[in-house]
Amino acid sequence: MLASSLSPHPEAARGLLTAEDRLRLLFDPGSAGIEGSGALRFGSGLVHGRPVLALADAGPGDPAVLHQRAAFYRRVANDGVALVEFLDCPPLTGAAGVEGLAAMDACLTARAALKGRGLSITALSGPALGPMALTPALADLVVMHRAAGFWSLGGAELAHRLGHEDDPEAAYGGAGLHGAGTGLAALGAADDVRLVLDIRRLLGLTRPRAAALAESDEAFTTLLPLDPFEGWDSAALVRLVADEGESLALWPDHGTALGCHLARIGGQPVGLIASNPAQNGGALDAAASRKARRFVDFLAGQGLALVMLLDTPGSLPGQAEEAAGALAEAAALRRALTALPQPPVALVLRRAQGIAALALGLGDARTRLLAWPGARIGLGGGSEGPEVPQPLSPNQTKRALIAALAGHDTPQR
């Protein structure tokens, strides 16, 4: 059955799959229906039981292909299912003139109409250059092949020709730029198979699933350093909170003052935002606020709950932060939280202060607030203000988070 798709092809040497293989690999075994020819392949099937429509580039596009693509986007919107698209398209051919512009615009319009109507993921295993590069920007999440993915206005050649710049190609749109720099790529994958498996994992984490609850939460009691001002690595905390210790970090190299993870807690899929006290003591900066806002938007669009694990002395001060628009980013994050389908759950570990506390919605009476012993929450910076009353014993953390997600009263509200 798979003989033709498994035969060696030039892409394999570069860690790339054919369009058909990408689609087959995406869907649960036996559930895929694949059709199309020429420049596009269309797929429908299940991913961890969730209905998904997908398309994959198979060759150079032209205005007719753009119209086909637009029609597929409209079908996705109509069906209200998740979309996964594998963008691997050389620059458009025969796309000059008004016809090309109109086709591209129809494509973008149909793509934009998907916003808020299900999950859309764009995978970049090849170039998305020029006009087509606008399409991924409309996706809920972008996943990039670290070596072959390229997402750019025009690339190095154009920049050299028109801007007299002389930097390597990757500086204009490689996975490194969009992973750490712009933060537009949520995930990077070493090869095409890993890329597809990451998308499967991501989709799987949006589904509820039963998991065992640890008999003891004693491990929470040793997470914080004894020195209250010492930085610490919140990755261990995320592992303890997440069912099975499994989470998927989105935008892991961007805005690293906060971690944004998909995970399950008590079987329920959630988004997790975790302070990173190993970086600037957990102070919130502009990039982290922007990342968190994108994540909250994503969660709101997917109807997923948000859990925040916070240890932040406030906002990071400094000229660079002012210039990066830290205030506007913080305010945008606060606004985004209001769109969540259910009030967020926030657990404050040591401190949550100042603008950071406000931006993360701790002042909102609807936020289900929990705090560990000794935690301080307030408008002051650093560790000011009284300790919160009725703290949560760390060895009750996971159970308390599950209860808070279920809407039960939390000690601090």
């Binding site: 060696p8 394999a12 299940l46 699933r209 004693e218 491990a219 099975e244």
Partner: protein, 653 residues
């Protein structure tokens, strides 16, 4: 009786003493070093006192700091546990000078038994069987040769102050005596600062059997049966059991009576252990006496029903022994495994760090089988680099030896530990070893049966069961993926295609691993132990998952498998090898360790292979070399920092 005691120890033994004291209504004081601030014994005690920095010399071995802790808390007595100060007569004396009771033997008895030559003299005087040899210091190789000829070969040349196998040499001829004499003497001088050696008969194929005694301050002393501790690795006990499969009642009674005689000869007044080297013909010879509670005391407790810690406390408080020799009954069989943070696949290298998973089997009594787990750790806790890396002592007790061993094997399979390496697979392999099961033991057992060390590779049946478990667990994790489902299980040497389908009675039918199997389990993702039935037979295994890779540990075999859908497996094999560039630019600690030195600064240019840092774990220093040439871009850890395994120390451009 005391109202408050201090425990001058840490780890499992401190926790175990606290439990008995609490049951007796005695308040407890823990002492701890900075490395143990969050240790379990500190949590369990009623009070805790910080006594110094992590090195034992600055804390647990500091007599004056412990005395100060007693005074600060009003502790009336000190239980020393084992190790540290437990056999230091000076400690017992200093406590007495301060009016604090030592829960252990009197200083005179400790001194009398502390020296191998002196204790052997005392044993001879008390009528205890001793290994034929020369009781006295030997000054010249000629004298050693003459004595050896009189004893008969083979002989053992031993350091008087020896222990742990150091300063010991076996000689089968006069030439070997001369060479062994010189080597034992120099090794003894280097190791103990005392070059005195003596010569005795070497017992071939010997067993290590020891008698537990308990005595009071009124001249009463009884023995509580024996323990066999012949399974040793480099003179460190690995498995212990009570009673010994070798002894008959007559030999036991003779060994017990001689042990009591020795104890009474030196005015012994607490718990102690008289160790014997025993021939396969049940001939036995005094080896030494340990004047403390032994690590392996739980097996004695389970077969006698006595709480040795309680008896020690009562004896120290001046109470007469509550039992006579005729009250001592041996009931059933007990087996103990010492679970250590060490990697059996890497020559038992110590492993330290955070216990990300610690799920011991359930303790208690079920259908006449007792499971007991003495531990000083908990999930999330640390195994510090500074001390003995013991994690737990797993003990099972049942009416018969075979049942106790079977219970131990099952308990080991149901014991899940993660975050550090541990020796459970090795213990589990031992527990199924036919020679161990038959009780044909000797101190050379491990060297003879595992000459190449431990290998995690199991039998074909082990691999089949592991494959079935990994496939079933994959399905449990992804229940939304419809059946039938084709998977590929890829191990280090081979790949197997399997098909999952719905079987009868809700079981999973798995084809491709030998005969089709029906697998039923209530396992939920996140559980560290898989329990289920495979073709109707109960199976238990510890399992860990990282991504799509599973590690299944059962019966001493550790099977590592990558499980992917068939298409993903085939396609992933066509992908180029991942670029390790980023990781190669990072210098990571290979194990949990202390960063003892950083040899470069940010901005320094370094060559590939250049020493960049030195780490220390378990007193062993290891240099870390630059993985490639470059410039030190960022330093992420400072000297003195405790590093987790895999933690990045610095990054190169």
């Amino acid at each position: 009786m005391f109202s408050k005691i201090l425990i001058a120890n840490r780890g499992e033994i401190a926790c175990r003493i606290i439990r008995t004291a609490r049951r007796m209504g005695i308040k407890t004081v823990a002492v701890y070093s900075e490395a143990d601030a969050r240790a379990l014994h500190v949590r369990l005690a009623d009070e805790a006192v910080l006594i110094g920095a992590a090195p034992a010399t600055d804390s647990y071995l500091s007599i004056e700091k412990i005395i100060a802790a007693c005074k600060a808390t009003g502790a009336e007595a000190v239980h020393p546990g084992y190790g540290f100060l437990s056999e230091r007569a000076l400690f017992a004396r200093r406590l007495a000078e301060e009016g604090i009771t030592f829960i252990g033997p009197n200083p005179h008895a400790i001194e009398a038994m502390g020296d191998k030559i002196e204790s052997k003299r005392a044993a001879v005087q008390a009528g205890v069987s001793t290994v034929p040899g020369h009781v006295g210091v030997i000054d010249t190789p000629e004298e050693a040769e003459r004595i050896a000829a009189g004893i008969g070969y083979p002989v053992m040349i031993k350091a008087s102050a020896g222990g742990g196998g150091k300063g010991m040499r076996i000689a089968h001829s006069p030439g070997e005596v001369r060479e062994g004499f010189a080597r034992a003497k120099s090794e003894a001088a280097a190791s103990f600062g005392d070059d005195r050696v003596f010569v005795e008969k070497f017992i071939e194929n010997p067993r290590h059997i020891e008698i537990q005694i308990i005595a009071d301050k009124h001249g009463n002393c009884v023995y509580l049966g024996e323990r066999e501790c012949s399974i040793q690795r480099r003179n460190q006990k690995v498995l212990e059991e009570a009673p010994s499969p070798l002894l008959d009642p007559e030999t036991r009674a003779r060994m017990g009576a001689e042990s009591v005689a020795l104890a009474q000869a030196v005015g012994y007044d607490s718990a102690g252990t008289v160790e014997f080297v025993v021939g396969q013909d049940r001939s036995f010879y005094f080896l030494e006496m340990n004047t403390r509670l032994q690590v392996e005391h739980p097996v004695t407790e389970l077969v006698t029903g006595q709480d040795l810690v309680e008896l020690m406390i009562r004896s120290a408080a001046g109470e007469p022994l509550p039992l006579a020799q005729t009250d001592v009954r041996l009931n059933g069989w007990a087996v103990e495994s010492r679970i250590y943070a060490e990697d059996p696949e890497q020559g038992f290298m110590p492993s330290t760090g955070r216990l990300t998973t610690y799920r011991p089997p359930a303790e208690g009594v079920v259908a006449g089988v007792t499971t007991r787990n003495d531990t000083g750790v908990f999930e999330g806790g640390e195994i510090p680099v500074h001390y003995d890396p013991m994690i737990a002592k797993l003990v099972t007790h049942a009416p018969t030896r075979a049942e106790a061993i079977e219970a131990q094997a099952e308990a080991l399979d149901a014991f899940a530990i993660g975050g550090i390496r541990h020796n459970i697979p090795f213990l589990s392999r031992l527990m199924r070893h036919p020679r161990w099961r038959e009780g044909r033991l000797a101190t050379g057992f491990l060297a003879e049966e595992f000459p190449e060390g431990y290998s995690p590779e199991g039998s074909a049946d082990d691999r089949r069961l592991a494959g079935l478990i990994a496939a079933a667990a994959t399905h449990s994790r992804e229940p939304d993926v419809a059946l039938p489902r084709a998977l590929v299980l890829r191990g280090a040497k081979a790949a197997q295609d399997v098909t999952l389908n719905t079987g009868s009675d809700g079981a999973l039918r798995i084809e491709g691993l030998g005969a089709a199997a029906l697998v039923a389990s209530g396992w939920l993702p996140g559980q560290a132990v898989w329990r289920g039935r495979i073709d109707g037979q109960p199976v238990t295994a510890a399992l860990e998952r990282q991504g799509e890779s599973w590690t299944i540990s059962r019966g001493g075999a550790v099977t590592r498998l990558r499980v992917l859908d068939a298409l993903a497996d085939r396609l992933i094999e066509t992908m180029p090898a991942p670029d390790q560039g980023e990781e190669e630019r990072q210098l990571r600690s290979p194990a949990a360790a202390q960063l003892s030195a950083l040899l470069v600064a940010e901005g320094d240019r370094v060559d590939a292979g250049q020493r960049l840092a030195v780490i220390e774990a378990m007193k062993m220093e290891s240099p870390l070399l630059a993985p490639l040439a470059g410039r030190v871009a960022r330093i992420l850890a400072q000297p003195g920092a405790l590093l987790a395994a895999g933690q990045v120390i610095l990054e190169l451009d």
